[in-house]
Symmetry: C2
Subunit: 344 residues, 2 copies
DNA sequence: TGACAAATCCAAAGCGCTTTAAATACACTA
DNA sequence: TAGTGTATTTAAAGCGCTTTGGATTTGTCA
């Protein structure tokens, strides 16, 4: 069933039917009702491609995965983030369109997406300092929102980010307040902006307590369980082992916990651990007393906010202000932290 | 830059240019080369909507999330599965299009996807016994592949599944061979087919050893870390606690491990644990000696296979045979299992 | 009753591509 | 040199929608 057919059935022109369905005012109430009725009856859905062709829109929002080192898939937040994007997009009548690119074809991929006309806007993830994609998007003329921020990009752009620096400042301060001085860091890939900021927060807070950050206690890499395990194991084998660990994801924390337990130590007593918590749907840390002391911000709701912001930009391209949203992580005190052990 | 413009530049008709680019034979080699050259030069990309409108294709493959009880997002495999789908789709020139539906609007959503013409085929996940979607897809006339199988659906349909029953038979048998008799089950949602099959494998193997499955040692539910913890904790508090646990995901296993350790027991010695392992990218269980003894099958590669199968169907709709693929999980022996403790 | 404005409705163009049917060019035979 | 068959190219229709510009109907008021 298409428009032509439907209007023939109704004895109306395509124009009128289209307008009736589109909610335009130049249609009488009676006609509108008749059309709506018939549309329902024949289960008419306007063809998305035809409509897109006529309007220049696609009602798709895009997201591109990069094969490069597979970090994105490896990132445990991927599922929840996509879920958040999809939820809000769908509610607004958009689909989320995922594609994939090789690292060295990134620019071509983005340009293609635009010139094919297959998306109305795009969500950029994992920004790096000086991220070229931001200038590229502007050049291409594709509405976009960044999940995170890109240090050293001075032109304004739309973003949603957690205050990662502040989160790690608070976490570090919390450990300092408990008397810890040797605090090991397990961070994400520090070529990515979020991890840089987290590290900066950690270092600054140590400095403010007159502690010189120890490079040997600062690790960054893929946030997988086994890396968490391996690094924590290594830290704990040191002559002077850290009394506390600050880690960038619950998955890392789970690996670290395994190492702590293998070493015969008790978490929260012998070794404290504080984690960043993305509030993943399958990894709840929301028990009445959380398992992990953590700084928490839901990545699923970040996904929702991003989609909302992007759709706002798509639907009102004239808006001159460039929106952004800085989310604060909350500190939740759980069972994985305690005062520094007396004798060591 | 569009076709009309490009052909004007070349002094050729749109037809010829379109054919040259499309690889049709009725174009001279010289012309084809000229066209290819110009296309590159002007960075021409055919408009996807226009092309779709003309061909009736969309070069999108669809996947629908259901809001109902959020199980899918809660499922830790979601990210890897989507990743696998995207990878293969992208390589074949398709995008993955995600949408979302309320439980009670499922049928309408699928019909809409078809009549809008926004997807060429669809991936169905989490099938249940008698799953109505299979008949619906056939009725709608949308190519589809199911991730899993639907018990009691007799008409043939395309699917990719792991031999879940066999996997759990092997896992159970492995525990029996180690002398375990009281084996607790932590399963996924048993309204879903995969979990039913796993349970059937577990029960059948116990029966074959003349053990009556104990309903009190069989739990099913969302596969989150905290459920794993809560259920294992409960099991271990029993008067006669199980000596082994069989769990349906590594995330559950991690929760169970936490409970075991809290109880002051050692995993692999006091309590054995064997898990289903989806080989998630951020949760590797591939250490030289795996942390968890497990039956393993990669959900990421299942995603790849499904996309490949679906695209095959889309591109050769005449093919009469209905493909399917049954993957066998491999048993990997790790550190989480051992012989049943002597005295209990 | 007629004039004018407002309310409705419609024909047709256009979005950018593919593809059918037909025209033209070319290369050879006879 | 004309005739034939093949290779190459093209004009135009059509995919299903939106939207412009115009036509028609209706209503109101002098």
């Amino acid at each position: 069933m298409n428009l032509k057919e439907l209007s023939k059935q109704l004895g109306l022109s395509q124009t009128t039917v289209s307008r009736a369905l589109g909610g335009y005012p130049e249609v009488s109430a009676k006609t509108r009702a008749r059309v709506a009725q018939a549309a329902k009856e024949f289960d008419y859905q306007p063809n998305k491609k035809a409509r897109g062709l006529a309007t220049g829109r696609s009602f798709n929002i895009g997201h591109v995965l990069t094969t490069h080192n597979r970090y994105e898939l490896v990132n445990p937040i991927f599922g929840d983030f996509i879920g958040g994007l999809t939820e809000t997009s769908a509610a607004a009548g958009y689909s989320l369109s995922l594609s994939l690119t090789e690292q060295d074809e990134e620019e071509a991929t983005y340009r293609k997406l635009k010139s094919e006309g297959s998306i109305d806007g795009i969500v950029l993830q994992s920004p790096r300092p000086n991220d070229l994609r931001i200038a590229l998007m502007r050049d291409i003329g594709l509405p976009f929102v960044v999940h995170g921020r890109a240090t050293n990009v001075s032109d304004p752009y739309a973003w949603v980010d957690v205050n990662n620096r502040r989160a790690f400042e608070r976490a570090t301060q919390f450990l300092l307040d408990l008397g810890h001085r040797r605090i090991g860091l397990l961070n994400g890939d520090e070529r990515l902006d979020f991890a840089m900021r987290r590290r900066a927060g950690y270092e600054a807070t140590l400095h403010s307590a007159d502690i010189t950050p120890d490079l040997d206690l600062m690790w960054r890499g893929p946030m997988t369980e086994d890396h968490g395990h391996a690094v924590a194991k290594d830290y704990l084998a040191r002559h002077e082992r850290p009394t506390a660990l600050l880690v960038s994801s619950i998955i890392l924390a789970i690996g670290a916990r395994r190492a702590i337990q293998e070493a015969g130590l008790e978490i929260g007593r012998d070794v404290s651990l504080i984690s960043y918590d993305d509030d993943l749907s399958y990894l709840s840390n929301r028990q009445s007393v959380p398992v992990f002391t953590a700084v928490r911000s839901s990545v699923l709701s970040a996904g929702r906010e991003i989609a909302k912001m992007l759709i706002g930009q798509i639907e009102d391209p004239t808006a001159s202000n460039i929106p952004n949203l800085l989310l604060e992580a909350e500190l939740v005190v759980g069972m994985s932290t305690g005062p520094v052990p007396d004798a060591l």
